[in-house]
């Protein structure tokens, strides 16, 4: 497709859509599907057909609308109504509301909630609007315009320059500057290069990448093709969890559609640039989110990491220079190319630019998927967007970064969300899981929970991680059971330090973070367990022992 052809295709699809007076968008992302949106969509389609409205009203499956706790969600456009917790019994009322022009009050979710107002959508701008299974819908929303622009007007160097200017940093959690990574791969010697999209979202409590892939797979694909053009790669892999069957299916559909449209494969858009993509399934190993382990898995081996350097940019898949970016990072690329790097750099803070997608869960009223500008305060996320803790209880801590991150206590909720601030607090940005804990949560037990996770997911290659995480877990077990003595806490601290400093890969190096951060902020809870065999939160059962 040339830019002209793309514009014509977009205009044709928009014209086709304008023929309908009403549009009902039914969320068909995993959260709403499991709340019953599949049946709801069928019932709506049937009702519209029975009322003879199929010429004026279109029912469309869309991606995640964000407010998962009110699912299944249906929005009516252009009316701008959002219906929550809708069931097939509500369908006649929903259809009637379109005819009468009056919303169904009992289902209406107020659209001026701070939950919606405080967000800023870049990565998720199409999410909940386009049909993830139709490339035409993505193109009508301006999709693939960045790609055709880059291929017809920009050199690979210019693409990298815009990404560098945007200040974009890796959204997988570590925050490495994306432009720098791209230019390293572009400059690396060798004719064969690879681009890998890391969609092995393994942190418990994190479902951002899944939502992006299920809601807007073409956007990730477009970012990947742009990356391949910039670094000179002809082949790419999307490494995605087998536990996300819907995301896998939608990605495969998107790849097929893009190939048919001449946006993937040989001679993309009639140029000499060619790029092919293959989906590779993970098989349930958390360590495969680590980039060297991920590459081993793509090569068909056990997902054991290896020391870096050499970094994948120098020596990656089968020894060739390889660019590895996370889903959300790649989804940021198309708007950067379209609107310029300076545009993204104008959002967020000087060192953490743009937005971040978070999965909000735990003891919070509005659970779901949110996107906020960097630099927003944690307090705003939890109280304004999240609506606070249910039953008027108090926030005790916020967990970010999953098993590699830490717990940030209530008194630090005014910290801005950026890579450096969260690291200073002993946690990390992480991939975006944000879990709220209230007074009823025992922090020692939380640390034990994460260490059980890390010990179980350690690949076993290096001793500090294989033995150290298990031993940390056992020490924490002793504390929780009220069997610890005066030396246990210092032993915990000492061992945590050894594991952190001597492990081979990121899994081991960060596995002690949940222990160290809870020891730092919630030491009295540990001490109460040790000295009195008592749980201050009253939840871990420690007190039952005596």
């Amino acid at each position: 497709m040339t830019p002209d052809e793309l514009q014509r295709a977009a205009a044709a699809e928009r014209d086709a859509q304008r023929k309908f007076e009403h549009h009902l968008h039914v969320c068909t992302a995993a959260g709403c599907l499991s709340a019953g949106s599949g049946h709801l969509k069928q019932a709506l389609e049937q009702e519209i057909a029975e009322r003879g409205m199929h010429g004026v009203c279109r029912v469309k499956g869309v991606g995640c609308m964000g407010l998962c706790s009110a699912g299944p969600l249906v929005s009516a456009e252009p009316e701008g109504w959002l219906y929550g917790q809708a069931s097939p019994e509500d369908v006649p009322d929903i259809a009637r509301s379109l005819i009468e022009g009056r919303p169904v009050r009992r289902l209406l979710v107020p659209s001026d909630l701070p939950f919606f107002r405080r967000q800023l959508k870049v990565v998720l701008e199409n999410s909940g609007r386009v049909d993830p299974e139709r490339i035409e819908d993505y193109i009508a929303a301006g999709g693939y315009a960045a790609l055709t622009k880059a291929l017809s007007e920009m050199t690979p160097e210019e693409v990298i320059r815009e990404v560098t200017a945007s200040g974009l940093r890796g959204r997988g959690g570590a925050g490495y500057p994306t432009g720098l990574k791209w230019s390293t791969v572009a400059k690396a010697p060798g004719a064969e290069k690879f681009v890998v999209c890391n969609a092995d979202e393994g942190d418990p409590g994190a479902f951002m990448d899944r939502a992006v892939l299920e809601s807007d797979p073409h956007r990730v694909l477009e970012g990947m093709i742009l990356a391949a053009y910039a670094v000179g790669a002809r082949y790419g892999y999307i490494y995605v969890r087998a536990e996300y069957p819907l995301a896998v299916q939608r990605l495969r559909t998107a790849i097929r559609q893009a190939e048919r449209a001449g946006l993937l494969g040989d001679r993309i858009c009639g140029t000499r640039f060619g790029f092919a993509v293959e989906v590779r399934l993970g098989a349930g190993a958390f360590v495969c989110g680590e980039e060297t382990a991920l590459m081993a898995s793509i090569e068909g081996r056990r997902g054991a990491p290896r020391p870096r350097p050499p970094y994948p940019a120098q020596q990656g898949l089968w020894g060739h220079s390889t660019l590895i970016n996370n889903v959300e990072t790649l989804a940021n690329v198309p708007p950067i190319i379209e609107r310029g790097g300076a545009w993204l750099a104008g959002i967020g803070t000087p060192r953490s630019t743009g937005t971040k997608v978070f999965a909000l869960a735990g003891k919070i009223i509005n659970t779901g998927l949110i996107e906020v500008p960097m630099g927003i305060r944690l307090r705003e996320i939890i109280y304004d967007i999240g609506g606070g803790v249910p039953e008027g209880r108090r926030v005790k801590a916020v967990q970010t970064g999953g098993p590699s991150g830490g717990c940030i206590p209530e008194e630090h909720l005014d910290a801005p969300v950026d890579y450096e601030s969260l690291a200073e607090l002993g946690s990390m940005m992480g991939s975006g899981g944000l879990i709220v804990m209230d007074e009823g949560t025992c922090m020692v037990e939380v640390a034990r929970f994460f260490l059980e996770f890390s010990a179980g997911e350690s690949c076993g290659k290096c001793v500090p991680c294989r033995v150290g995480t298990t031993h940390l877990y056992e020490l924490l077990n002793r504390v929780v059971r009220g069997e610890a003595d005066a030396g246990t806490l210092s032993a915990l601290e000492e061992l945590a330090d050894v594991v952190r400093q001597t492990s081979l890969c990121g899994l081991g190096q960060s596995a002690p973070s949940p222990v160290l951060s809870t020891l730092r902020y919630f030491r009295p809870e540990y001490e109460a367990h040790v000295r009195e065999g008592r749980c201050l939160a009253g939840s871990c059962g420690s007190g039952d022992k005596r």
């Binding site: 998962c68 590779r280 399934l281 190993a285 869960a361 659970t367 967990q399």
Partner: protein, 167 residues
């Protein structure tokens, strides 16, 4: 010596799916995990014959194939029960009551994670996170996701599975 592709272990039609998956990847060795996925999807688990067949087809040592199959949690070498209950133990589920679900399963069904009932009726597994945190705690019973779940609801559902089998 000319190497010939091995014949499937039996005349079971499901081997065709495994062969098709390997062919689709040009019998490349790096597509081993894809081949194992197709075998597990076809048969529900990875049996020894299947591992041998994949190893020979891709010309890989059996030790390597076994090593990969046992490294990844997604693969199982034991046949699953007629029904499967997956309890999510992600962070949101953990703090919202997943331990109570597991406690009920141990008390009422005498099952711990990774175990299958002796009569082959039910397997219990845990998942690190199924990504439906808004519905925490969740369990997946025979591909059916149940959210905001209480131990009583899960108990009823699993009893229902058993009754259905008996009837």
């Amino acid at each position: 010596m000319i190497w010939a592709r091995p014949a499937p272990p039996s005349s079971d039609k499901r081997w065709k799916m495994v062969e098709a998956a390997m062919r689709r990847h040009g019998y490349r060795r790096d597509a081993l995990i894809e081949a194992l996925h197709s075998a597990q999807e076809a048969f529900g688990y990875l049996e020894e014959d299947g591992l041998r067949f994949v190893a020979q087809s891709l010309r890989l040592p059996l030790s390597l194939v076994y090593g990969v199959a046992t490294f990844y949690h997604f693969f199982t070498l034991k046949p699953p029960g007629r029904h499967t209950c997956v309890v999510c133990t992600g962070t949101a589920c953990h703090i919202n009551g997943a331990p109570a679900l597991l406690g009920m399963l141990e008390r009422e069904f005498n099952l711990r994670p990774g175990q299958t009932a002796p009569d082959g009726s039910l397997s219990l597994v845990t998942a690190r996170c199924v990504g439906s945190c808004s519905l925490a705690p969740v369990a997946v019973v025979d591909r059916d996701l149940m959210g905001k779940l209480t131990p009583e609801q899960l108990h009823r559902r699993l009893q229902g599975c058993r009754r259905h089998d008996a009837g």
